[in-house]
Amino acid sequence: MQNQVVISINHSQIVHETIDGETIILNMDSGSYFSLNNSGTAVWESISSGVSLNEIDKELQRIYPNTETVKNDLDDFIEKLLAEALLSKNANTEENGSDFSKKPESLLHNLSRDSYEKPAFEKYTDMQDILQLDPIHEVDEAAGWPVAKIQPEHA
C-alpha cells in the first residue's frame, strides 16, 4: 500500500459547485463564500476527480512551458485552499480511494494555451452584506453577484 499524503476536497466542511468555468464554495463552519477563477477551477476539478498534485503540476508545466512561476503558483494556491480548510491532507490508503493513475489533461483542456492565469480565488466573509446585495441593480453587470457595482465618485 502507498503511504503518501493526498490532498482532497474537504467534503465534511464545505459544499461546492462548478458553473460555467467558475467553482463556488461555501465553508459551512465559517460561512465564508469563495469563487475560484478559471484556472483555479481547473485545478479544483482535477483534485475533485482524484488527480494527484504532481500530475496537475506536470500538466500545467507542459501547457505553459515558458512560465517559470507555474509550480510556485500552484503550491501557493493549494496552501491557501488548505489554510481555508477547503482542502484537506490525508494519508493515502485504499480506503480513501485516491487514484494516481488519473490524468489531468481532460480537466485542464479548457485553459487558454495563449495566456497564463495564476490559479486564485476571491473570498467573501461578510455574508449579510453579500446576501443583501441586490443581484440585479447593485452588481457589476458583467460579473454579476457577488461582485458589487463600483459606485461613481461624486465630484
Partner: protein, 380 residues
C-alpha cells in the same frame, strides 16, 4: 382554450410570465424566441416582481445550456449563484433540525423545493426557496413538539395539540435567534388524512446536506406542486409550472400514472389536477400521455370540490369585501376537512372557527357569526 385552462392561465400567468416560463423551460427556437420577446417587453432594470425573479435561476440554466451570449448573462449567472448560496444556508439550517429529530427516532420527510432540488432538478440553485418544509408522522407530532420546545423552539399556538392537528396541516416554530421552521403532518390541506400512510409507504430515501432523509415519491410531489399552486396566494404562484414541468420532462419514467389518477380521485382534487395537466400539455411545458388526460377528464368533481375549484383561485379580498371573512374561513375549512357531506361540513364549521379565532367557547362563535351577519345586513 378550454374555459378551465383560461381560468388557470389568468390566475397563474399573464402573457409576460408565459414568455418567461417558455424561455426558462423550453430549449430551441421556441424558447429562444420567447427569451428575445420577454427581454423587449419586460424592463429588467426597473420592474421585476418577486415571482418572476424566482424563475431567473432556471432561465439562466436553460440559456447557459444553449450557450446563449447576452449582456444580461453575467447578472443572470449571479442570480443563479445567489440562489445556490441562499439554498445552501437553508439546507444546513434545516439539516440540523432534521438530524436532531432523527436522533429522537422521528422520521422526517422533505417536501416541495428541497426535495425537488435533489430528486428532479438535480441542482441546488435552480429552485430558489424562502424556507424548507418537511413532514413528520402525525403520531410523532407530540414527541417532536416536546423535544423542540425543550430545545428553545416556540410555537405561536396556545391551543391543545389535538386541535392543532385537527385544524391545521403544519405548524411554525421560531427559535431565539429568529430562525423559523415549518413542520407538516400533511403536505397540503386537501390531502385526505387516511391517505397519508400511502405517502410514507411510497417515500424515497435521499441524501440531503450530508445526511440521509426521506422525500415523497415524484408521483406524490407532482400532485403536491399542482395543488399547492392552484390556490390563490398574495404572491403569484406560477412557479408550480416549473416544478411540474421539470418532474414531467426529466423524470416521467418515475410517475406512476395509475396511482396519480387514484390520488386525484380519492382526495377530491381531480378537476384541479385535470386543469393543471391539460394546461402543461397544451402550453408545451410537458407531454402527458393522452390516456392520462382522458382518464382525468372522466373524474367527476363532487359538490365540495366544485365549490373549492370555483373559489380557491380567487383573491379572498374580492369576496371578503362583499361578504366579510366568514366565506373565506368556510372555504379554508372545506379544503381542510376530510368530510365530503356539505351539511356536515357546515355543522362542524363553528368548531373550526373557534380554533382559528382563538375563541373560548362555541357560544362566542355563534355570537361572532350573528354579529357578522347583522353587520352585513346593516351595511347594505
Amino acid at each position: 382554450m378550454h374555459e378551465a385552462h383560461a381560468q388557470l392561465s389568468s390566475a397563474f400567468t399573464n402573457p409576460s410570465e408565459e414568455l418567461l416560463l417558455t424561455a426558462a423551460l423550453i430549449e430551441g427556437p421556441l424558447g429562444l424566441a420567447a427569451w428575445d420577446k420577454w427581454k423587449r417587453e419586460v424592463d429588467f432594470e426597473s420592474h421585476m416582481d418577486y415571482s418572476s425573479f424566482r424563475i431567473l435561476p432556471i432561465l439562466y440554466k436553460n440559456l447557459a445550456n444553449q450557450s446563449v451570449s447576452d449582456p444580461l448573462i453575467g447578472r443572470l449567472k449571479g442570480i443563479y449563484k445567489h440562489s445556490w448560496f441562499k439554498n445552501q444556508q437553508l439546507f444546513l439550517k434545516t439539516a440540523k433540525v432534521l438530524q436532531f429529530l432523527k436522533n429522537q427516532n422521528i422520521r422526517c420527510m422533505l417536501l416541495k423545493g428541497a426535495a425537488l432540488s435533489i430528486q428532479a432538478y438535480e441542482d441546488n440553485a435552480i429552485r430558489s426557496m424562502a424556507d424548507v418544509d418537511f413532514m413528520i408522522h402525525v403520531s410523532d407530532f407530540k414527541k417532536a413538539n416536546q423535544h423542540l420546545l425543550q430545545q428553545g423552539w416556540k410555537s405561536p399556538y396556545k391551543q391543545p395539540l389535538k386541535e392543532i392537528i385537527k385544524y391545521r396541516k403544519s405548524i411554525q416554530y421560531i427559535n431565539s435567534i429568529g430562525e423559523e421552521i415549518d413542520i407538516h403532518w400533511s403536505p397540503y390541506n386537501e390531502y385526505n388524512r387516511d391517505y397519508l400512510d400511502d405517502i410514507w409507504q411510497n417515500a424515497e430515501k435521499i441524501r440531503f446536506a450530508n445526511m440521509e432523509t426521506w422525500a415523497p415519491s415524484l408521483t406524490d410531489s407532482l400532485i403536491h406542486v399542482i395543488i399547492h399552486g392552484s390556490c390563490w396566494n398574495e404572491e403569484r404562484t406560477f412557479r408550480w409550472i416549473t416544478d411540474a414541468s421539470v418532474i414531467l420532462n426529466k423524470k416521467a419514467d418515475q410517475i406512476d400514472w395509475d396511482r396519480f389518477i387514484e390520488i386525484a380521485q380519492r382526495n377530491t382534487i381531480g378537476s384541479r389536477v385535470n386543469d393543471a395537466i391539460k394546461y402543461l400539455n397544451n402550453q408545451n411545458f410537458a407531454t402527458v400521455p393522452s390516456e392520462v388526460i382522458e382518464q382525468l377528464e372522466q373524474v367527476k368533481p363532487r359538490q365540495k370540490e366544485r365549490i373549492i375549484r370555483k373559489y380557491a383561485l380567487v383573491d379572498p379580498a374580492l369576496f371578503t369585501a362583499k361578504f366579510g371573512y366568514i366565506p373565506f374561513y368556510l372555504l379554508d375549512w372545506f379544503t381542510l376537512s376530510n368530510q365530503q357531506n356539505i351539511f356536515m361540513l357546515i355543522y362542524r364549521f363553528p368548531g373550526y372557527l373557534k380554533f382559528v379565532k382563538s375563541m373560548d367557547s362555541i357560544l362566542e362563535v355563534y355570537t361572532y357569526l350573528a354579529k357578522s351577519v347583522i353587520k352585513k345586513l346593516f351595511c347594505r
